[in-house]
């Protein structure tokens, strides 16, 4: 780390905290990303009355080599990393996937003209993990 510091004399002192932050919070790591759509974009608003907007979110990013408790990943995730690095690189590295969801209420018009309110499980990603 000391060499690194030496190598970067051009960084003006006042954004040193930014400079250090990249070591504390690794970039592009697995995290939840916002994604919002409206059913009118899909031309589904003819039969989906509510909600108008739907935010399913998604998970994206790299999984660190040593996945600790930060992701709540099972031990198997680390084992898979070891298999990938040491034994067989055709075995994929752990992926960044949703770990928890929340439900969504949907109001729709049925083909026979009746109206249905239904609560669907696991429709909005709320947390990501590596596994």
């Amino acid at each position: 780390r000391d060499e690194n510091l030496k190598e970067a004399p051009a960084t003006p002192p006042y954004n040193l905290s930014e400079y250090f932050k990249q070591f504390l919070f690794p970039q592009n790591e697995c995290e939840l990303h916002n994604f919002r759509l409206s059913f009118s974009q899909l031309k589904w608003d003819r039969w989906i009355i509510a909600p108008h907007r739907y935010s399913p979110q998604y998970c994206k990013g790299d999984c660190p080599r040593v996945v600790g408790h930060r992701y709540g990943s099972p031990v198997h995730t680390m084992v898979q990393n070891i298999i990938y690095e040491k034994l067989d690189s055709t075995v994929p590295k752990p992926s960044c996937v949703p770990a928890e969801y929340s439900p969504l209420s949907v109001l729709t018009i049925e083909p026979d003209g009746s109206i249905v309110y239904k609560e669907y499980e696991d429709m909005i990603a709320t947390k990501c993990t590596c596994r």
């Binding site: 003819r46 009355i49 209420s105 009746s114 609560e119």
Partner: protein, 304 residues
Amino acid sequence: PHSRGRVVSDKTSGLLVAPEDNISELNPLLRLPKGMRRGYALLPPLLKVLSDRGPQNWESEAPRLQPDSRALRYMKRLYKMSATKEGIPKANKSHLYNTVRLFTPCSECKHRHGDLMKGDVHSVDLLFNLDRVTALEHLLKSVLLYSFDTSVPISSSITCMCHLSVKEHDFSSQVCPSISHAIAFSLHFEVRKRKWVELDVTSFLQPLIATKRRNIHMAVNFTCLMGDPQQNTKLENPINMALVPPSLLLYLNDTSEQAYHRWNSLRHRRKNPMWPRQRNSLLVDPTGGKGKENSQGKRASRRR
């Protein structure tokens, strides 16, 4: 996938299941292990739409019957009461149902009896088609939903006598259906701004819906008078009001995997101490009506 192989709908769950013989043609990602395939949902209902309605054939879809605007307004209000702005079911709602279906009587019946609605004695023939209710949707409560027109003065006290009878179609005699069982009750209510009256007919319809009857044929006689017998006011001058034929509201608990099971998530919370504890009693009204749960809910939130 809809371009490869024919997919049939599973009558019992109403969901799509690929026939055994051309399972091999399905995308390997979609294939379930052999043991699970029989009668099991390949796709959740909402995703079923994805497989049925790809963008290219959206235009070719048969036009949908448009629902009654009053019914639509009522269901939008129910949606607002049950879900947040983001569309997430409200956590503090203790209602048991995760599905509510509103059926309007079939249009031919309505048309045939439209003119019967004027005057003070209303007799209407109702036929509801419940095909959309799946085998995994279990009835919790059924309500006949009446809406009054604006001619009735607001906050007037009205007492109505309602005579409800279910008609069985006896196919041996084509002339007229026979009446299987009937119920009569009186109903007193104050007409408020919202102009909706809910008639709880759960116990009356339960045996029919439990036997998975797809068509419910009812005759409803409705007589309304101004006044309130309990307040000893004289029942007088019958109300001449136009009554729209009632809709049928079914509160259901869908036990399929795709449906949200509130109790599961609550149990999950209970296991995970990080989440605040909530006291819910199974004895609450399936529609989350007022009652002791609310005061408990309040106490719990205050404690929190």
